[in-house]
């Protein structure tokens, strides 16, 4: 990489001898009680900047982000809905934020009550029998699901090695299968973008432990034969896991437990309005049917006569996936959201999300066909294929959208749609915003035909223009070098 001075990083602003924040009002001394052999020598190398400088630096950086409160964030599969402010107020309450996880159950009755109530609400939404909120994100929920399956089969003295996923599956599904020591077998989706029963039948054998299926799938489509799919797997003795990343389409409308799934995860940071934080924290609670409950991680929060406690005595448990009880601060936000919306609001939210996605699909389809089906659920996958004849790719459409002040849809996923543009508007967007976005998409299609260079050189209005990923991949520069 060519010369880089890093002057715009916090390190570039550092001046020897400048102080930021003092912990102590008195001068401190090197520790006397720790022998030298244990101590580090010389400087750590952290920057030296004043408090206001730090604020200016990070406020300036913040302005270089797109975010939900700026404009539409149509990122498919990510459910970038509004993150209500009241959620943050609750999570910051000192009674919650100041709890140490090693405090006694008696000191944490309010927190345990929230954990319990959240798990019960998710039991209701899923139609399953029990929920463990412990996984820290969707992918860790998947991991828990597969650990449960492993423990379940071991308990039955069965050994099964395969996890089946359709080719539309999210990358975390096969990646999780590998971590848990399963072999992934991918099968092709049918012509309609859904599971083809014959293909599934052919892929099934007695070595299949789990079918992982996203419902609605990553094309935004419901599986009309969901009952038969689940039955086929059960008939061969396998378990069915539902990737619930797309629960924003289903909550209050239909329950995965009724489809026959054995287990599923939620992404609280998608469906239940907790902020994505630029890449987390999330939370990936797992719901299971009764036959898997004994294997859930510990501790479990249990209630008796209005008193709550953490229960570690579960001999068949798969253990733990988190240092403590999972992302409690995220439970607070999700639970706040659920109580605010209530059963009526939850149902209304999903139907509005579906309305918004269908409306937007209809509006952009003249320029960006939606290959699979008329009706989508909460998201749809369009293709930028028609623009290719102008020498323009989906990537260019995505970059041009940034110039209009929008974020881009998820692109090139799922893999079954060429030049994929996966759009999820969510229920918290209004018609004007959807129209503005659709108009931008249509204008971009016109530009592709008339002035393709505009797309090829986009974006021009963002803080930086297209960045050189290739050289970063060849010689990654991960840190500011020490001087």
């Amino acid at each position: 990489m060519s010369a880089k001075d890093f002057s715009q990083t916090i390190y570039g602003k550092s001046r020897r001898g400048r102080h930021g924040y003092h912990i102590s009002s008195r001068p401190t001394e090197a520790p006397r009680d720790i022998p030298r052999e244990y101590l580090r020598e010389g400087r750590i190398g952290l920057p030296e900047v004043a408090e206001l400088q730090v604020l200016r630096h990070y406020v300036d950086l913040s302005t270089k982000n797109h975010h939900v409160e700026k404009d539409l964030f149509p990122l498919g599969s990510c459910t970038m809905k509004y993150n209500p402010k009241v959620n943050e107020e609750v999570a910051a309450m000192p009674g919650f934020a100041g709890l140490h996880p090693e405090q006694s159950d008696d000191d944490a009755q309010g927190a345990l009550a929230v954990m319990h109530a959240l798990e019960q609400a998710l039991v209701a939404v899923s139609g399953m029998d029990a929920v463990s909120a412990q996984p820290a994100a969707g992918a860790q929920g998947e991991m828990l699901g597969l650990l449960l399956a492993r423990a379940y089969f071991a308990d039955r003295k069965e050994s099964r090695h395969k996890v089946l996923v359709p080719d539309t599956a999210h990358g975390t599904n096969p990646a999780t299968a590998s971590i848990v020591g399963f072999e992934t077998k991918t099968f092709a989706s049918g012509k309609d973008g859904r599971v083809d029963l014959d293909t599934l039948r052919a892929a099934l054998d007695d070595d299949v432990a789990v079918l992982m299926l996203t419902v609605p799938n990553t094309l935004g489509l419901f599986e009309p034969h969901i009952g038969e799919i689940v039955d086929l797997v059960h008939q061969r003795g396998g378990l069915c896991y539902m990737d619930g990343a797309n629960m924003n389409a289903l909550m209050g409308q239909a329950r995965p437990g009724d489809f026959g799934f054995d287990m599923m995860h939620f992404n609280l940071h998608k469906t239940f309005s907790t902020p994505h934080g630029g890449g987390g924290p999330g939370s990936g609670p797992v719901a299971v049917r009764a036959h898997l409950e004994p294997f859930l991680p510990t501790p479990r929060v249990v209630e008796k006569d209005g008193k709550y406690r953490l229960d570690y005595q579960r001999p068949k448990s798969v253990g733990a996936l988190h240092s403590f009880f999972g992302n409690f601060g995220i439970y607070l936000r999700a639970y706040t959201y659920i109580t605010r919306l209530g059963a009526d609001g939850i149902r209304r939210a999903s139907s509005t999300a579906i309305l918004n996605a269908n409306y937007l699909a209809k509006r952009v389809a003249p320029a960006y066909p939606v290959p699979y089906g008329e009706r989508c659920m909460h998201e749809f996958v369009a293709t930028g294929e028609p623009l290719k004849k102008h020498g323009v790719k989906t990537l260019d459409v995505a970059k041009r959208l940034l110039d209009f002040g929008f974020y881009a849809p998820t692109i090139y996923f799922p893999l079954v749609v060429p030049e994929a543009l996966m759009v999820e508007p969510t229920e918290t967007e209004g018609r004007e915003t959807l129209d503005r976005f659709a108009d931008a998409m249509l204008q971009i299609a016109r530009e592709a035909a008339e002035t393709p260079d505009v797309l090829l050189s986009a974006p021009t209005k963002t803080p930086v223009r297209r960045v050189d990923e290739a050289s970063a991949n060849r010689t990654p520069v991960i840190t500011v070098p020490m001087d």
């Binding site: 060519s2 990083t9 102080h19 924040y21 912990i23 401190t28 520790p31 009680d33 580090r40 190398g45 952290l46 900047v49 408090e51 730090v54 630096h57 950086l61 913040s62 270089k64 982000n65 797109h66 409160e69 943050e88 009674g95 934020a97 100041g98 709890l99 140490h100 820290a136 991991m143 990358g171 971590i179 848990v180 009309p224 969901i226 409308q253 309005s273 934080g277 630029g278 890449g279 798969v318 733990a320 996936l321 240092s323 999972g326 992302n327 601060g329 605010r340 919306l341 059963a343 609001g345 149902r347 579906i354 309305l355 409306y359 209004g430 930086v464 960045v467 050189d468 970063a472 991960i478």
Partner: protein, 453 residues
């Protein structure tokens, strides 16, 4: 319903465009027999003040450690969180953004991660650090998986004094693979038994985990066995507390191949133990085996400095079943807080923090050791946490202290069985005054008088 825009006219117009009469028709893609007719068994929606009232009532049913005098640690620590840190990360620009897949509209998040990586790299003295892991426990678990993959070996040696909550997670993570965990005992001084380590090391050993400070607060001397571990072809995986690295020898300088830890103490709330945020750093040669996201500095087409996600071919969305890990969403916002915290404290403030913690902890340890019947369990050096041997069982000490508004520490019997009945893990940080210490000592004195029957 809150949080939506549509007027009845909007809905009507949208349905018209779709050629539909009602929204119900849209849900008909779900077969009839699965469609819920009524509402879920959840209460109906409430107004914001109603929700706030209900949740503040629940919050008030807790007795948070921040409102007591707390000496709890065990991996989660209460330090001063500067207002500026809280303020910056409450900005929606950071909190409501997504993973920076479109770099041109995500330079803020990308640069923050780059600075986080740099901070962690400097603390650990390892050249590579990633964008964050779920927590210190899963970071250690992933480090073990990574070491097994790198060495193509299957045994991981873990110290007896490892945080027991980390051990639980490591066990679950490796359970699906053919990886065996073996425990290396602790000496009577509280550190790794080097003789036992020597005995267990062989050509099946993928990694030796060293945690320093360990769960008992004791500082290890990994430099004494690092060469032997490497000579056996195994990796050294260090699990460490980033605050301790303000004073202590960094993992990169004692030959650690991978370093992991928990960044909650760097400006994040305790929040009943979650969300937390793990870090992972490693030697350059292992960068392609590393889990999680990495940000690289680069240029844009106009030659401007820019940042971008890099080496994504390691990750699940590209590599699928061959990915180095399944992690997708990580702990971005908490890493952001840790970044701002370290920038704000800087070289001076961070060193000061470490010094105060060490000074406070040693002062308290001295005061407790002077009490009748109390002593320090281990002689080995410590940083801000240590084990007290009580004249009675630690549970009753904790109970007595709690009656006086204090959380005296973690009774080790909780994790290490009945033989640890009298042992109490005590932490001191920059939050503690001499008065707090006096109050604890008074409570301990009282507890030693309580007869246990």
């Amino acid at each position: 319903m809150p949080y939506t825009f549509h007027t009845d006219d909007d809905r009507r117009a949208m349905l018209d465009l779709l050629g539909l009469k009602s929204e119900d028709e849209l849900v008909q893609v779900i077969p009839e027999k699965y469609r819920l007719r009524g509402l879920l068994p959840i209460e109906r929606g409430r107004t914001e003040p109603e929700v706030l009232r209900m949740l503040s009532r629940l919050a008030n049913r807790n007795a948070p450690s921040t409102q007591l005098t707390s000496f709890l640690g065990g991996g989660i620590y209460e330090h001063t969180v500067p207002s500026a840190v809280k303020n910056i990360t409450s900005r929606p620009e950071f909190s409501t953004a997504y993973t920076p897949y479109q770099p041109e509209a995500s330079q803020g998040t990308l640069q923050v991660i780059f600075e986080f990586q740099t901070h962690i790299s400097r603390l650990t003295r390892l050249p590579v650090a990633n964008a964050s892991m779920y927590d210190g426990a899963s970071a250690l678990a992933e480090a073990c998986l990574m070491a097994a993959k790198i060495t193509k070996r299957e045994v991981v040696l873990v110290p007896y004094a490892l945080n027991p909550r980390y051990l639980r997670v490591v066990r679950s993570y490796v359970s699906g693979q053919k990886i065996e965990l073996k425990t290396i005992p602790t000496t009577d001084s509280g550190d790794i038994d080097a003789t036992a380590l020597h005995r267990e090391l062989n050509d099946r050993t993928a990694a030796v985990v060293v945690q320093t400070p360990n769960y008992f607060g004791v500082l290890e001397r990994p430099w004494e066995f690092e060469k032997e571990v490497h000579a056996a072809g195994a990796l050294v995986v260090a699990s460490t507390d980033p605050v301790s690295l303000s004073l202590l020898r960094p993992p990169g300088e004692y030959g650690a191949d991978i370093a992991v830890g928990e960044c909650q103490p760097l400006g994040n709330e305790m929040s009943y133990g979650g969300p937390l945020v793990g870090f992972m750093a490693c030697k350059q040669e292992f960068i392609r085996q590393m889990p999680g996201r990495l940000v690289s500095a680069t240029k844009d087409v106009d030659g401007r400095d820019a940042f971008v996600l890099t080496l994504q071919t390691r990750e699940q969305h590209i590599r699928r079943e061959k990915a180095t890990s399944n992690i997708c969403t990580n702990q971005g916002l908490l890493a952001t807080r840790a970044t701002v915290y370290m920038s704000l404290l800087g070289e001076h403030g961070f060193t000061e923090l470490g010094r105060i913690c060490a000074e406070r902890a040693h002062k308290l340890a001295g005061m407790i050791a002077a009490l009748d019947g109390y002593s320090l369990r281990y002689r080995a050096p410590f940083f801000r946490e240590f084990v007290v041997a009580c004249p009675t069982d630690a549970d009753s000490v904790v109970e007595t202290a709690r009656k006086h508004g204090m959380l005296a520490g973690i009774p080790l019997a909780r994790y290490f069985g009945a033989s640890a009945r009298n042992l109490l893990l005590v932490t001191a940080t920059d939050r503690h005054s001499d008065d707090d210490f006096k109050a604890l000592c008074d409570a301990l004195k009282r507890a030693s008088l309580v007869k246990v029957g």
